[in-house]
C-alpha cells in the first residue's frame, strides 16, 4: 500500500472526488489488483458457467480488532463460508466499506491488508466494491459488507429437505471460541485469557467432503450468531423433525468452557466463525468423521447427534448426567446472569 498522506479518514474520502480516488488507488486498487477489478468499471463482468451460489453479509463488530483477527478477515471468511455452506466453491467477492470519519488510516490499512490475506487464503478475488464515509457518531468506526459468488459443486445436493430421520450431525471443531474471544475484549468485560477467534475459511474442507461423498452430504450450516443451539433449532423447525444431541459429545475447549461458566453464558448460544455442522447419511458417518479429522480445519471434529421422528421441531440434549432438556432458540442477546 502507498502512503495516502492522511492520518485519519475524513468525509472527503467518501465524496467521490479527488480524495476518494487517492484512497482507492493507493489502498484498494493496488492491494486487490486483478483483471476484473482493474477494469475500474461501475461493476465487474465475470463469466460463471454453472449453477452459482450467492450470499451477502454485513459486519458491524465491536471491537474491530480482536485476538485472532479483525473485522477484515471476518468479512471475507464469513461470506466465503456462507457460500461454501451452499455446497459451492467461492470465487468472487464484492467489498463495501462504510467508514466513520476519524478512523485512523493505519487501522484502515491493517483491515484492508487482512481482507487481502484472507481472500488469498480462501482463493477468492475481490472484483467490485464501494467506499462511503459517514459523519462521526453515525457509524461505529467501520462497517463492511461483502457479497460472495461461488460455483456450486457438481456433486452437491445441499438442502434441508433431504434430511431424513437417522441422519447424523457432525461438527468440525470446538464451539463458542469466537464469541468468547470477542467477549473477553469487550469494554467492561475484559478478562485475562489466551482465547483467540477461530475465524477461518471452511471452503476447502467443504470441497473435500463434497468430492468424497457427494449427495450423501445433506446439509452444511455454519452456526455463527445465535450459536449451535439456535441453528439446530432452526433446522428442526424447517423440516418438522427432532434433533437429539449429547452434551458430552459437543467439542468445547476447556478455557472456553471456563469463560462461559464464569460469565454465566451457555456455549450452545455463543457465536462461532470457523465452525460448521454437516448432516450426513448414517452409512458414511465414520468416513466423514475420519476425513474431517484428517483436515486442518477439522482436527477436533465430532459426531454430536442425529435427526429423529420423535419430538418434532424440538432439539433435545442429553446432559452430562443423563438427564434431558430442550435446547430452545436464543431470544435477543444472551444476557449474563446476576449471580
Amino acid at each position: 500500500m502507498e502512503n495516502t498522506g492522511f492520518e485519519t479518514i475524513n468525509l472527503g474520502h467518501g465524496s467521490g472526488g479527488e480524495l476518494t480516488r487517492n484512497l482507492l488507488d493507493k489502498v484498494i486498487f493496488n492491494t486487490f489488483s486483478n483483471p476484473f477489478l482493474d477494469q475500474k468499471h461501475d461493476g465487474a463482468i465475470v463469466e460463471i458457467n454453472s449453477k452459482i451460489a450467492i450470499s451477502t453479509d454485513s459486519f458491524v463488530i465491536t471491537p474491530i480488532f480482536f485476538k485472532g483477527g479483525n473485522i477484515g478477515e471476518l468479512a471475507v471468511n464469513g461470506t466465503v463460508n456462507d457460500v461454501a455452506m451452499c455446497g459451492a466453491i467461492p470465487k468472487y467477492l464484492s467489498l463495501a466499506f462504510i467508514i466513520e470519519e476519524g478512523l485512523k488510516m493505519t487501522e484502515f490499512e491493517r483491515i484492508v491488508a487482512s481482507v487481502k490475506k484472507a481472500a488469498d487464503e480462501s482463493g477468492v478475488l475481490i472484483i467490485t466494491g464501494d467506499t462511503k464515509v459517514v459523519e462521526r457518531g453515525k457509524g461505529d468506526k467501520i462497517f463492511i459488507n461483502t457479497t460472495g459468488f461461488g460455483q456450486v459443486h457438481p456433486k452437491a445436493n445441499i438442502s434441508v429437505h433431504n434430511i431424513k430421520a437417522g441422519d447424523k450431525i457432525l461438527v468440525n471443531g470446538n464451539i463458542a471460541q469466537h464469541g468468547m474471544a470477542i467477549m473477553s475484549e469487550r469494554e467492561g468485560l475484559e478478562f485475562e485469557s489466551d482465547l483467540v477467534s477461530d475465524t477461518t475459511n471452511l471452503n476447502f474442507l467443504v470441497k473435500d467432503l463434497l468430492d468424497a461423498f457427494g449427495e450423501k452430504i445433506k446439509l452444511f450450516r455454519d452456526p455463527t450468531r445465535g450459536g449451535l443451539g439456535t441453528v439446530l433449532h432452526e433446522i428442526a423447525n424447517d423440516i418438522s423433525k427432532g434433533v437429539f444431541v449429547k452434551e458430552s459429545a459437543i467439542p468445547l475447549e476447556k478455557q472456553v468452557a471456563a469463560a462461559c461458566e464464569m460469565l454465566g453464558l451457555d456455549p450452545m448460544y455463543v457465536a462461532n466463525e470457523g465452525v460448521f455442522l454437516v448432516v450426513v447419511d448414517p452409512s458414511i458417518e465414520t468416513e466423514v468423521l475420519a476425513l474431517m479429522r484428517n483436515h486442518k480445519r477439522g482436527i477436533n471434529a465430532a459426531l454430536i447427534g442425529e435427526f429423529t421422528n420423535e419430538h418434532p421441531n424440538k432439539v433435545v440434549m442429553e446432559s452430562l448426567i443423563g438427564g434431558k432438556r430442550i435446547v430452545s432458540p436464543l431470544v435477543g442477546e444472551q444476557l449474563p446472569r446476576i449471580c
Binding site: 446432559s319 432438556r325 446472569r337
Partner: protein
C-alpha cells in the same frame, strides 16, 4: 474446570439418584430456594430423573424476578434524566410498566451492562460531569459488592455515584412462604451462595419453628441430587434438622468480612417483593449515614408506583403454589421474547427455565 467435571460426573450423580429412588416411599414437595438451583435442575434434566413422588417446587430466589416493577420504572426514569445507569445483564430485558431498560437504551439512554458494581465506580470517576447509578438488586449474595462500591465511592470522594438498591433477604421470604395457608412445602434446599455470605446461623430457628428440614445446597448436578437425597432421607426418617451439603463453600459463620461491609452500608428494613408484596424486615435499606448514595433519595423518584400486569401469576409461581406450565399465559401471551412478568425473563426465573429447557413442553 476439574472441580466442575467432578460435580457433573455421571456415575457419582447416578449413585445419589438411585439412592433417592430406593428410599422414597411417600410424596414430598421440596422447594429449592435459589433461581440458580432451578436453572441447574432444568438445564441438567434432573427433574425427570427424580422419582415421581419427589416434586421440586421452585422458590423465589431469582433476584430479577422479585425486583418490583416500579424499581424498573425508576431506573428508566433515571436513564431519561440523562443519568448513566449501570446494571447486571439480566435486568435489562425485564419489562417495566411501559418499557424495559433495553428499550430505554435504544432511544438514547446511557445504559451499561456490568459484571461488578466496582466498574460503575470507575465509570463515575471517568465521567465527573455525569451522574452514575448502579442498579443494585439481588439477595445477600450481591449485597457485599454493592455495599463495597459505596465505600469505594466514598474513599474516592465521588459525589456523582449512587445506587438504586432493592436488596432482599432469603430467611424472611422462607417464613412468608411457610406462613401461607396454601403452603405445601415439606423441605427446603437452602441457597448455597447466600449462605456462603451469611453462614448457617439464621436457619436454625426456622428449622425449629416450622419443624422443617433445610439442606443448604450447591448448584452443580451432583450438589443438587445429594441435597435432594439428604432432604428426602430426613423426611422419610421423620426428622428435621439443618444440614450443609455445600460445606466446601458454606461455613457456619459465613464470610464475616463481607457481612461487616454489608452492615456498614445497609440495615434491615421492609422491602417490596414483586408478586408477593411488602414483607417486613425482608431487605436491606441504605443507612442514614450513607443516604447521599441512595439514588431514590438523590433523584426524588421514590413516588413512582405502578401496578403489576394482572394476567401474570408471578406471585403464585414465586410462592410455589403453581408451576409455570399451569399458567394460562405460559408459552402463549408470555414468552421470553415478550415476557408479561419477570420469571419469564431471567434465565434463573422458573418460567424461563421451564420454557427454555424443560421437556415437559414436548407436547
Amino acid at each position: 474446570m476439574k472441580h466442575l467435571s467432578e460435580y457433573r460426573n455421571f456415575e457419582a450423580t447416578k449413585k445419589y439418584l438411585d439412592e433417592i429412588h430406593k428410599i422414597t416411599t411417600k410424596e414430598w414437595n421440596i422447594m429449592e430456594i435459589c433461581g440458580g438451583q432451578t436453572h441447574s435442575l432444568v438445564k441438567n434434566g434432573i427433574l425427570e430423573l427424580l422419582p415421581e413422588k419427589v416434586r421440586m417446587i421452585h422458590g423465589p430466589g431469582c433476584p430479577v424476578c422479585v425486583t418490583p416493577l416500579n424499581l424498573i420504572d425508576k431506573a428508566i426514569e433515571l436513564l431519561e434524566k440523562g443519568v448513566i445507569v449501570c446494571s447486571f445483564g439480566d435486568m435489562i430485558r425485564v419489562p417495566g410498566s411501559k418499557k424495559s431498560l433495553l428499550e430505554a437504551k435504544a432511544v438514547g439512554g446511557d445504559l451499561r451492562i456490568l459484571y461488578s458494581p466496582l466498574e460503575a465506580v470507575s465509570i463515575a470517576k471517568e465521567n465527573p460531569d455525569k451522574e452514575v447509578v448502579f442498579f443494585a438488586v439481588g439477595f445477600e449474595t450481591t449485597a457485599p459488592a454493592n455495599a463495597l462500591s459505596v465505600l469505594h465511592a466514598e474513599k474516592e470522594g465521588l459525589n456523582n455515584y449512587s445506587i438504586l438498591a432493592s436488596h432482599v433477604l432469603v430467611p424472611p421470604a422462607m417464613e412468608a412462604i411457610l406462613d401461607d395457608k396454601l403452603c405445601t412445602i415439606d423441605a427446603f434446599l437452602g441457597a448455597g451462595h447466600v449462605c456462603a455470605i451469611m453462614g448457617m446461623q439464621e436457619y436454625y430457628p426456622l428449622v425449629e419453628k416450622y419443624k422443617i428440614p433445610i439442606v443448604i445446597t450447591g448448584f452443580e448436578p451432583l450438589d443438587l441430587v445429594q441435597g435432594i437425597y439428604m432432604a428426602v432421607k430426613q423426611l422419610e426418617e421423620g426428622i428435621y434438622k439443618l444440614e450443609n451439603q455445600y460445606a466446601r463453600v458454606v461455613k457456619e459463620h459465613g464470610n464475616t468480612a463481607a457481612i461487616k461491609v454489608i452492615n456498614t452500608i445497609f440495615e434491615v428494613g421492609a422491602r417490596e417483593w414483586r408478586g408477593i408484596g411488602e414483607i417486613p424486615n425482608s431487605g436491606y435499606v441504605i443507612k442514614e449515614a450513607y443516604r447521599k448514595y441512595d439514588a431514590e433519595a438523590k433523584f426524588n423518584i421514590s413516588h413512582i408506583k405502578v401496578p403489576e400486569n394482572p394476567n401474570c401469576i408471578a406471585g403464585e409461581i414465586l410462592r410455589g403454589i403453581k408451576k409455570p406450565n399451569q399458567c394460562d399465559q405460559f408459552g402463549k401471551a408470555c414468552k421470553p421474547a415478550n415476557p408479561l412478568g419477570a420469571p419469564m425473563v431471567s434465565s434463573e426465573g422458573a418460567c424461563a427455565a421451564y420454557y427454555h429447557f424443560s421437556t415437559h413442553l414436548t407436547e
